[in-house]
Subunit: 190 residues, 4 copies
DNA sequence: CATGAATGAGTCTTCATTCAT
DNA sequence: TATGAATGAAGACTCATTCAT
């Protein structure tokens, strides 16, 4: 008996993300993914039940990677602001290091797929964000608003900004990033 | 000869938006659109060169509708803050009145299609936003930041918030909207 | 009541021949013909029952034109050889003056369409050829062979030769034509 | 994996030729070919890139078969006349044994397809004919004419004659064949 | 584990034709 | 007479998926 060939699995994962970013959802077929991954289309079905399952697993893997990167060095011993800044800087690093992952996620999140998948479960992965905001509210450092609102005003604008930069092929410099962090903080601070 | 039937054109437009929102890009086929619009698939090709052209025209039409709604009552005689609030409230009205249009746009904007279409031209439709922010900066009311940044911190969070509400089937109440507007202003004011 | 518009009829006729020569049978559609003829597809159905009828009428018209050209100045007062040479020279003139007609005919004649159309009737148009050969045989000037055979050895080679020239974009010069006529005569003379 | 099924390939080949001869170019569709070959339409695309590629490969295969048959027993040790007669008799055998192949070729050669395919390369397959004629001219046995002309007067009439017979459902008897060979020789001999 | 072969169902698109004007 | 609109049927081709090896 032979073992799971992680090279192939990885190649399929990469090909999927690349193609969806390059040509979009509706033009990305299993056979194109297979070709890009230098693998037979049938091989994909060894590791994934069907096309949607492939997308879902790809999505989960990226989301995992993202939360992993996002919360490095973020723990309860730090102040709310320290955690806030660390999370944002980690997020920016993630987006810039794994552009394709990020754009893939954006595309998925704006499609009807998440509805189909009932995605509450993944929320748990982002627990540290909720905790940080809750701590901030409790300590009266942050505005007493719904946490989704705090996210929408502090984290999402950063993502949006980077998205624009990625699409224009430009880079966000340190000064701009500092400004952005300041604006995020201004928007949510009490 | 028969005359151009605008009902058919409209039905195709509606069906396209509905289906893309319901089942997503890759599952929306011309024949499904035709069926939903109670029209022959061939009829679609009378009014649209091909599938992508159909999407593009649909996109343009919605974008037009959106800018039309967004700037009602917004003119240079108003203060920066008045214009700011009006635009945001118009935008919120648009999103809530034409949920499907909004979600369609989000889906398009996060796909690789816009890159293909080279969309700078449509920026002109949103001139009033740029003017408002430029005026605000000049009058030292607003932060001296890149305008994309101001947009990312004041307008997009609102969209994001509403997106969440739409997907959850909840409504944004007046109090929440007032808070949001305040947060937007806090984020960008000098 | 309006009258038959011969310009339109002619434009359709021309467009049909052009397209069939350029892109072939299977790629020539009514709508392409209509576009080339600057006419609505529906207009074609005023003058022709259906697509096959269009082809058939086009074929007949060309065949008529061809026999008309081929027998100019050919009558019983001339000797067999005179008639023979005249017919061949007329035929060469026809092919060179109306290349498209000729190539269209060749294409039709090598398709299964003639079988469908039962084309004995058009043979009568080429009566003078048969008479000439019959006279030649009776006068023991020509070989006592089946007339189709005499045609195959005297007239068809000329057509074949010109076909090659047409496809290469070259011209048959007078010397070559004289040689060809000599070879034709050698092949069939007693 | 499953192995390449040459029966399927052959069935597709046969079906293509049959249909093109029976109903012509424009009515022969991939799905009809598939049905006739008892194969899924998709299977055709495993072996052929597209419809035109299918036609082209079919054409090449037939042309190969034809040259193979045509030059059996034809070599330089034979006299020019011996080679001439052998080639013609082989050709006649080929046409009568593989009527469908022959008619298919005629139909292709009179369509615009060959122009698209730039067919000089296949000329090399028919080298022995050119060599025979060149030898004949050098030995002053044959007329000093362009070789295409010699072909047009000696070989093509035979093809034409057989075409007529095939379409009428009649057979060329030995006496007729002998006459034809004599006429061919008369036309080209010095 | 891996894959080329195979296919029914589906894709987008064009077809020949008719109809209302 | 002339034609844009309309469409069911069919076109070529690709899809996601399965199977035999």
């Amino acid at each position: 008996m032979r073992y799971r060939d992680d090279n192939k699995v990885e190649a399929i994962f990469d090909a999927t993300i690349q193609l969806i970013n390059e040509i979009g959802f509706s033009d990305t077929s299993i056979s194109k993914i297979a070709k890009r991954a230098s693998v037979s289309a049938a091989t994909i079905y060894i590791y994934h039940e069907n096309k949607e399952d492939l997308l879902y697993k790809t999505y989960l893997k990226i989301k995992g990677k993202m939360s992993e990167e996002m919360f490095q060095g973020v723990d309860h011993t730090r102040t709310v602001y320290e955690r806030f800044e660390a999370i944002i800087r980690n997020y920016v690093d993630f987006i810039q290091s794994f552009k394709e992952y990020f754009l893939f996620l954006e595309q998925i999140m704006n499609s009807p797929l998440p509805q189909k998948w009932c995605l509450e479960d993944t929320a748990s992965q982002f627990q540290p964000i909720f905790e940080m905001f809750e701590d901030g509210i409790r300590q009266e450092i942050l505005k007493k608003e719904d946490i989704n609102m705090l996210i929408a005003y502090s984290i999402l604008p950063i993502a949006e900004l980077l998205k624009t930069h990625l699409k224009n092929g430009t880079m966000l410099n340190n000064k701009q990033l500092d400004s952005a962090i300041k604006m995020s903080w201004d928007a949510i601070k009490a």
